[in-house]
Amino acid sequence: MNGEADMWFIGKLSRDKQGVGSIVGAVFMLLILLTGFTHYIVNVNVTEVYNEVLQDMGELDLKRNKENIEFTRVSKTSGNKLNVTVKNTGSYQIHIIWLGVFNESATPDTQDYYELDVHVDPAETVTNIDSSVTVSTGQLRIQLVTELGNKFSSSYPEEESGYNFVDEEGDTPTTGTHSLFSAQQAGPDGIMDTLTEGSSSTNQTANSDLDRNDWISGQSSAGDVSAGILGDTYSSDDTRYELVETKATAGGSAGSRNYLLAWRFDFTGLSSSRTDTHVYIEAQTTGETFRLYWSSDDSTMNYLGTITSTSDSWINWDIPDDTSTTIYIILKDNNDARADGTDTTTADLIKIDALFLEIAPTYELDLEVQWISADYDEANEWLCIYSGTMAAENIQVDVWDGTGWTTVFTDLSSGWNSVDVSSYLNSWTFKIRFRTSDDDFPHSWEIDATFLYVWS
């Protein structure tokens, strides 16, 4: 080899030919650092996710601690259906997901859970939880479980002393309405059940009828119609009863005597405090126009209107208010003279479908409410009613003593009304009624809470 070749292969180390190894080493160091950084980033992300989970769960725990439910009422309906009323007294909306019903009287105890999906907003009261569940008799423990993991329990029947809120609306028929009966089953909480008087208008058919032929001297009697009209049920049923004109048998010359009709219908036993009375008739004639009158004394005839051959639909006229307890409705043909020759050839008739008086509506209240699981064997038993805004008219409260109604309040005041009912409360079932006398205006009264307060 020559010197130049020697230098290429085994040449002398030169100080100015260094750096390649350092670059390679630096690259590896960079790779290692990058790998470490990547792992660091991944770990930071994982830690962040974990911290977020911890934060979320911490918030849930915080919310859970602020959940609270108060049982305002646990009752059973007449069909043994459970009816739970609760109020959310916590700060957040509560989602109730399970209902537990534990019968502690059974041997062995029974424990049943029913799925629920009930949301209760803060300060909201929810009732009818869970009215689809049939429960047995005995001492029950009712448990509500929330989505956030809280459980709330109540006993049924309630403990020896306590507030027995009214269970349900009472027997029908009733007069008047509740706006929100469940409002009486909790509180006082400002949620009112407004009791409003209902209308009690009546329709009355004639009690009797009479051929009033003496109004036109010499007029003969027309055919009897009473069997049909007096029993009619106010309906336009096209079952018609006919009154036929008959020819006068006296007065004037025989050739000038008219076909005549005068018939009276008597409506008796009416209230002397009627405020609005109408006579309703559906009838038509075979051609002649017939006239209708009313009288309170069977002497003074007051004209109402006419029935024609085309008036086969409901017609009504107002009868002015008075204090008479009997009203006469008189039906006459169109002739005022018995023999003036104006109606001598045709015996017209009037076909009456229905005839009645509508006695104007009056307003009154008669609403029953009752307990079906009242605690009746305590030494002290008081009926408590908390009222809101009250009408000026008196609202009376009666209790059922087993044989009849006894008045315990002649009127309710706004606020608390309490009375000892221990002498009337003798069974699981206890009922009261709200009553008013009838008048011509629908009044209303607010009831916030109705319950029995009992203690040993």
Binding site: G11, L13, S14, V20, F28, V42, D109, Q111, L148
Partner: protein, 153 residues
């Protein structure tokens, strides 16, 4: 002789030396990188696994809603609600510190419980149940979450 030998050798060329150095550096770098990769990977996996387990456990919530003792059959029935964010399974129950043996369970142990669901865990108590006495009951999930309730028989 020796001095003469070294003096006569002029060493390898720069290229060869560079190659040798590169080889050494590359090998050392690769080894170091492989080691660090393995170290990062194993520590990362371990961290991930550990964090994942802690995260799941953090999401677990259980509540004993009721305890029912059937004195006829001597079975204890513990109803557990899963109100957490993930499903869980009851792995163990302790009564006054005594663990209920696996063979004593008749229902509910190891059963997957979805969120917002209930599970009824039924077993024979390792301690005798006396009416009116209080007992500490602990339910433990497979991930290690626990709930304690004090129950009067």
């Amino acid at each position: 002789m020796t001095n003469s030998f070294f003096r006569n050798k002029r060493g390898v060329s720069e290229i060869i030396s560079s190659l040798i150095i590169m080889l050494i550096v590359t090998a050392a770098g690769a080894g170091l990188y492989a080691y660090s990769l393995n170290a990062f990977s194993s520590s990362g996996s371990s961290f991930l696994l550990q964090t994942s387990g802690k995260e799941e456990r953090a999401q677990e919530r259980l509540l004993i809603t009721t305890v029912w003792w059937n004195d006829t059959t001597d079975y204890l029935n513990v109803t557990v609600l899963n109100y957490g964010k993930i499903e869980l399974a009851i792995d163990a129950v302790y009564i006054d510190g005594g663990q209920v043996s696996a063979s004593a369970f008749t229902d509910g142990k190891g059963e997957t419980v979805a969120t917002e669901s209930l599970v009824s865990v039924k077993f024979t108590s390792p301690v005798s149940i006396v009416d009116g006495q209080n007992y500490e009951i602990v339910a433990v999930s497979e991930r290690g979450s626990r709930y304690v309730v004090y129950w009067e028989a």
